[in-house]
């Protein structure tokens, strides 16, 4: 009887009396158990924080309703000649471009269907670019109803001021955060969109085009701005024969001739290389008047009587 007990302890082969089939079942069982032990907390974590966290602000609340509403406002009231546009289709094409996709791998191709649906002819000589002068340029087109900045075209009007991005693991928009261009990635759905529409806006321009520049900053023409990087290089020399710059200075500031500054001369040189003529005016009258509305400073803003 002692021999029998001792003989089982000194056993060399482990579990030798369990069949191979049982061994396999046990392994599978433990494997599944481990998988469940790992998967459940991960699943809970993912359910609670399902979307990736980025450094930038998230999708604008009520993004889709605002997008659609703006589309209708624009096509029915602002430019009723575009009343035939299908806003439902346009809204769908917009979200399809970025939903369920990695917001850091966006390409201009993603926005192609949207660009096609929102094609719009801006009349020749009516294109107005801007750089570091957003408020002033847009105040001007609001008053001077027949000039167009990008934000006065259908797609620019719809997207202005909004933020959006999706997530590959969800069909929902990420309202928590979206990639920041510098800190996360540059090929994000937001930046790619604006590059694509700016490019098209410049390609479509014809005749004499204008740009509002800020003469009160050192980089009046900034090669890293969207205007400097994208728009200037996508003007078509066969359609655009001249770019006129209106360089505005802050009201009350000492008069300077920013038209002959090195940064503006740089713009002139780039255009010359592209066979586009350039002209420049300091403190273009009508926009000067607009600046006066904002700050009616006595020395610059009184009528000559």
């Amino acid at each position: 009887m002692a021999n029998h007990r001792f003989s089982s302890v000194s056993e060399e082969e482990p579990c030798c009396d369990i069949s191979k089939k049982t061994k396999i079942c046990l392994c599978v069982f433990f494997g599944l158990l481990i998988a469940v032990i790992i998967a459940v907390p991960v699943g809970i974590l993912m359910w609670r924080h399902p979307l990736k966290e980025w450094k930038g602000k998230g999708t604008t609340a009520h993004f889709y309703e605002i997008l659609l509403g703006r589309c209708y406002t624009y096509t029915q009231i602002v430019r009723p000649e575009l009343g035939h546009k299908d806003c439902q289709k346009i809204g769908k094409a917009f979200t399809t471009a970025f939903l369920s996709k990695d917001p850091c791998s966006c390409t201009e191709q993603d926005y192609q269907p949207l660009l096609e649906l929102t094609a719009q002819t801006v009349p020749c000589n009516k294109t107005l670019f801007w750089s570091k002068s957003s408020e002033l340029a847009h105040d001007y087109t609001r008053v001077q109803g027949d000039l167009f900045t990008l934000e006065d075209t259908l797609l620019g009007y719809m997207a202005d001021g909004l933020k959006w991005c999706g997530d590959p693991r969800s069909s929902e928009m990420n309202y928590q955060s979206c990639p920041d261009r510098r800190e996360d990635c540059s090929n994000n759905s937001f930046s790619v969109f604006w590059n694509a529409v700016s490019k098209r806006f410049a390609e479509d321009a014809c005749g004499v085009v204008h740009v509002v520049l800020n003469g009160s900053i050192s980089n009046t023409f900034d090669e890293r701005s969207t205007f400097g990087r994208v728009e200037v290089f996508n003007l078509r020399p066969e359609k655009v024969h001249q770019l006129q710059a209106w360089v505005m200075h802050d009201i009350g500031s000492v008069h300077s001739d920013s038209c002959s500054s090195s940064s503006v001369n740089n713009l002139k040189r780039i255009l010359k290389e592209r066979s586009i003529a350039f002209s420049c005016q300091n403190n273009y009258g009508p926009i000067r008047l607009l600046q006066c509305v904002k700050s009616p400073e006595p020395s610059s803003c009184r009528f000559y009587v």
Partner: protein, 258 residues
């Protein structure tokens, strides 16, 4: 615009919808009561801007509520701005072809909306009240029968208003039909005086005139003193100064003779 957060746009729409099922000539201002209740919000002091016959100018000047907050920039005004709506006469759907005007019937959906909205806006206005009128309007700058006269002035809250400032604007290069103290403007001034309001009147209020000039920058009335100086034309030789040259030369000539 400052946050009007927490508003339930769906509920506001549901409240508005009730008028869309009513007979197009039976919509009363009070039918919008629930809609106004849900969409009303306070108006910052001194920011109210009333107007007649210059909708676009007011929209441009107010800069989306940054400078002033006219009715078309408050939530309930913004909703209806530039829109028209009515139910079909003999069916339940919306009529996209035509809607009754005030000439067709008084109680139409759109007029009743603006009456109700105007009353609310006037009631919630406080501090300095600004009024922009069109002094080039042939029928008079202050319409004696109109939204301002009938649905705003009567609802001014005397205890909340410090004073009323009237701006009579004139179209650049067009005749000045009325100015402060004249015609219908005088009627308005007297009405306000009778109601016990402190008021003042300015012709062609400078900031607004500057804005009007943006579209007429080459017109003589729109030349800025800085622009004239930079053109290096000595004031004596400019248009208006020409009439002074001759007497000056004569005076000089006679001085030389002496």
């Amino acid at each position: 615009m400052e946050s009007k957060g927490g508003r339930n746009c769906t509920a506001i729409w549901e409240a508005f919808k009730v008028v869309l099922v009513k007979d197009p000539c039976s919509v009363l201002p009070s039918d919008y009561d629930r809609f106004i209740d849900l969409s009303r919000h306070s108006i910052p002091r001194d920011k109210s801007l009333f107007w007649e016959n210059n909708h676009l100018l007011v929209t441009s000047y107010s800069e989306n509520g940054l400078r002033f907050l006219p009715l078309c920039s408050v939530l309930y005004g913004r909703i209806g701005d530039f829109l028209s709506w009515c139910r079909q006469e003999n069916a339940s759907g919306l009529d996209y072809q035509s809607c009754p005007t005030s000439e067709d019937c008084e109680n139409n959906a759109v007029d009743s909306f603006w009456k109700r909205a105007s009353m609310q806006y006037a009631r919630e206005s406080s501090g300095v009240i600004s009024v922009m009128l069109n002094g080039s309007e042939p029928s008079g700058a202050y319409p004696v029968k109109g939204f301002f006269a009938d649905f705003e002035i009567p609802y001014f809250q005397k205890d909340k208003i410090t004073r009323i400032e009237i701006w009579v604007m004139h179209e650049i290069g067009k005749p000045k039909v009325e100015s402060c103290g004249e015609g219908t403007v005088k009627i308005l001034e007297e009405r306000l005086k009778k109601m016990g309001f402190q008021y003042s009147c300015i012709n062609d209020h400078l900031p607004v005139k500057l804005l009007k000039c943006v579209d007429h920058s080459t017109h003589p009335d729109c030349v800025l003193n800085s622009a004239a100086a930079s053109r290096e034309i000595p004031p004596l030789w400019a248009e208006h100064g020409a009439s002074h040259i001759v007497p000056l030369l004569v005076a000089l000539a006679s001085a030389v003779h002496m």
